[in-house]
């Protein structure tokens, strides 16, 4: 049972969380100006890094989307941060 930190709720069991996506993706818009390849890379392209990774997660019980930094090999959680503009 891993434990992740929701930036609002704090440490909770992994079963309360869901992985959403790798962080740092920007939705290319507007659609008519986006190539098939760029759109496919936005939808599907990943780095799947070994080691530190920035990922978007959601804490299911409170609904908060946030950015978690984890080591994908050791599984150590290196930090959690709220999305920009979210405050206490």
């Amino acid at each position: 049972m891993q434990r992740f930190s929701c930036p609002f709720c704090g440490l909770r069991d992994e079963t309360e969380f869901h992985f959403a996506a790798e962080a740092g993706k920007h939705r290319p818009e507007p659609a008519p100006e986006v190539s098939d390849a760029d759109w496919a890379d936005y939808l599907f392209g990943n780095d799947a890094p070994r080691g530190p990774a920035r990922e978007v997660w959601v804490h299911l019980t409170c609904g908060e989307f946030f950015v978690m930094t984890r080591d994908t090999v050791t599984r150590e959680v290196l930090g959690s941060a709220a999305l920009p503009g979210r405050s206490q």
Binding site: E14, H18, F19, N46, E55, T72, V73, R75
Partner: protein, 416 residues
């Protein structure tokens, strides 16, 4: 190649088995190869074998960072089957199954293919309708799919939980008689031995650290044992493939997850088929040794660590006991995890990527073992000819930009 047979076993038995030679040669890297395959799992070794066997290209090296067959090839639940929905998938997996059916003799190594049949079990009328859709799709694609009723399912699997308290009573499902299991290690070793006999160099404890690209083409591979010149590189490294592709700036549509498998203590035979339960997502078979071999869903936390975690264990095991309450008598003997490379549509990526001469065979996710012969066959074709085999064409990376995903889970409602 030293011939394996009952007779040779008897003969060597009389001399204390001192005459058996190494199954495959322990090679050191040469300066240059016609093709280099990165990843000494089933897919990589099969690729090397078929390059030599089908295409006459035997100046080939297989580079393995650890010991051969030590990745997902040796960490799965050994099911082989082609009970798929889309014609593209059926073509791919049935090529594989047909190659498996001849594999022990082709390799002169018993991979213990046991075609004991597999049932995908349904529990609601709606699921039975989906099963009918799959069985029909299989039949139209020339594969032995059968829509099985509850009675026959229970006759084949008498221990199924059909009590009034069962959460998911079995109404029947899709049956494939040619599906079954094989001995995973033997597949890797058998391909290694046969490839080695054809002149392929199998180099263990050799990690790839760089891919040399000049003028937009691959020209070599940097390894922990030095630089190797080659103009053709095939990547068949499962969860390590994204990192290798990234050496040339290629991004793949892959997430890596841990997939666990479990083995119980051995008991006398009591389960004669492979079973996947739609209700629980747990699948199970009984090995020749008598152990239950159990699998289920992914640990849904992206990782490169080959370790399992408790929540997924609890889900899979409770699912198993829901299917077979009598199995609660048994104990968990071993548990392990492989790092699987999962693509959004859960179908593999086979084809050229990035610089000229670079090809991948990855994205098998939870189902790579069954595809080893086909994966090797198709990657060998690409490396040898530079062009797709018609069966691998739909699985090219370009399907993501075209929008033509081959999503079995979405197509049939059944995650493989």
């Amino acid at each position: 190649m030293q011939r394996y047979s009952a007779f040779s076993l008897l003969r060597h038995g009389l001399t204390g088995h001192r005459g058996w030679r190494p199954a495959w040669a322990k090679a050191r890297p040469r300066a240059a190869y016609d093709a280099v395959i990165v990843g000494g799992g089933g897919h990589g070794l099969a690729t090397a074998y078929y390059l030599a066997k089908n295409h006459g290209i035997s100046r080939v090296a297989v580079l393995e960072k650890g010991w051969i067959g030590g990745g997902n090839t040796g960490r799965n639940t050994t099911a082989v089957r082609s009970n798929y929905f889309y014609p593209e998938s059926v073509a791919l997996y049935d090529l594989s199954l047909r190659l498996y059916e001849r594999l022990s003799r082709a390799l002169n190594y018993n991979v213990m293919l046991s075609q004991r049949g597999m049932l995908i079990a349904a529990h609601t009328p709606a699921q039975m309708e989906i099963c009918a859709r799959i069985a029909n799709a299989m039949q139209l694609n020339g594969v032995d799919g059968h829509l099985m009723g509850a009675e026959e399912a229970v006759r084949r699997i008498p221990l199924l939980n059909q009590t009034a308290d069962a959460r998911f009573r079995c109404l029947g499902g899709v049956w494939q008689g040619r599906a079954g299991v094989a001995r995973h290690d033997a597949v890797a070793w058998g391909y290694a031995r046969a490839a080695s006999a054809l002149g392929v160099d199998i180099i263990e404890n050799c990690a790839v650290t760089g891919l040399d690209v000049q003028g937009g083409r691959i020209c070599g591979v940097d390894t922990t044992l030095g630089r190797i010149r080659t103009e053709r590189v095939g990547l068949a490294a499962a969860g390590a493939t994204p990192g290798l592709a990234a050496l040339t700036g290629v991004r793949l549509p892959i997430h890596t997850y841990a997939l666990q498998a479990f083995v119980s203590e051995p008991v006398k035979p009591m389960l004669d088929t492979v079973l996947l339960y739609l209700g629980t997502g747990t699948y199970v078979s009984q090995s020749d040794k008598g152990e239950l071999v159990i699998g289920g869903g992914l640990d849904r936390v992206p990782t490169h660590g080959q370790r399992g975690n408790l929540p997924a264990q609890e889900t899979v095991i409770s699912g198993l006991l829901e299917m077979f309450p009598a199995f609660a008598q048994l104990k968990l003997l071993r548990q392990w995890a492989g790092v699987v490379d999962v693509v959004p549509d859960s179908s593999p990526v086979i084809g050229p990527v990035g610089p000229g001469g670079l090809y991948v065979n990855c994205g098998w996710g939870t189902g790579g073992f069954k595809a080893i012969p086909a994966g090797g066959w198709l990657l060998a074709h690409l490396l040898a000819t530079g062009a797709h085999h018609e069966i691998s064409r739909p699985f090219d990376l370009d399907r993501f930009a075209r929008g033509r995903l081959i999503d079995e889970a979405a197509g049939s409602g059944i995650a493989h």
